[in-house]
Symmetry: C2
Subunit: 81 residues, 2 copies
């Protein structure tokens, strides 16, 4: 049987297959956004479109960072630590 101490030692969230799947899906969706936004930035017809596409690129990178922080918060002790 597991003690409270052991359970707490696992970190604030319990890692699970479902959670891994959800993070994987989120990363894929952010990757699609990033790829399209980079192409929109490269092929922008003018500076206004380019600046707007660059904002999407920047926000997609930031969102990837935040998703990783949430994931790290969820799984503070990865297998290879």
């Amino acid at each position: 049987a597991m003690s409270v101490d052991e359970l707490l030692a696992r970190g604030p969230m319990q890692e699970s297959a479902e959670l891994r799947l959800l993070f994987h899906r989120l990363n894929n969706q952010l990757g699609i956004i990033l790829a399209h936004a980079e192409l929109l930035e490269a092929k922008a017809p003018d500076d206004a479109h380019r600046a707007r596409a660059a904002q999407v690129v920047a926000s997609a990178l930031e969102a990837m960072g935040t998703a990783n922080e949430i994931r790290r918060y969820a799984t503070p002790t990865p297998e290879a630590s």
Copy 2:
């Protein structure tokens, strides 16, 4: 003192202020992506740009849904349930 049963009853992740902040930040970043992508779609100079911007809009909406699923997974019993 809290029992293992009580701790498990709280759900797979422990809600915390830091986690709420991270989800809030992620939602903001996705909202910025969505707003810019919708404008890029509306002001696209041709069908290729429009289709690409529409893909960013679709992926941003999907990412918001996935983020909400992760959050729901993290906090299975919101205050007003």
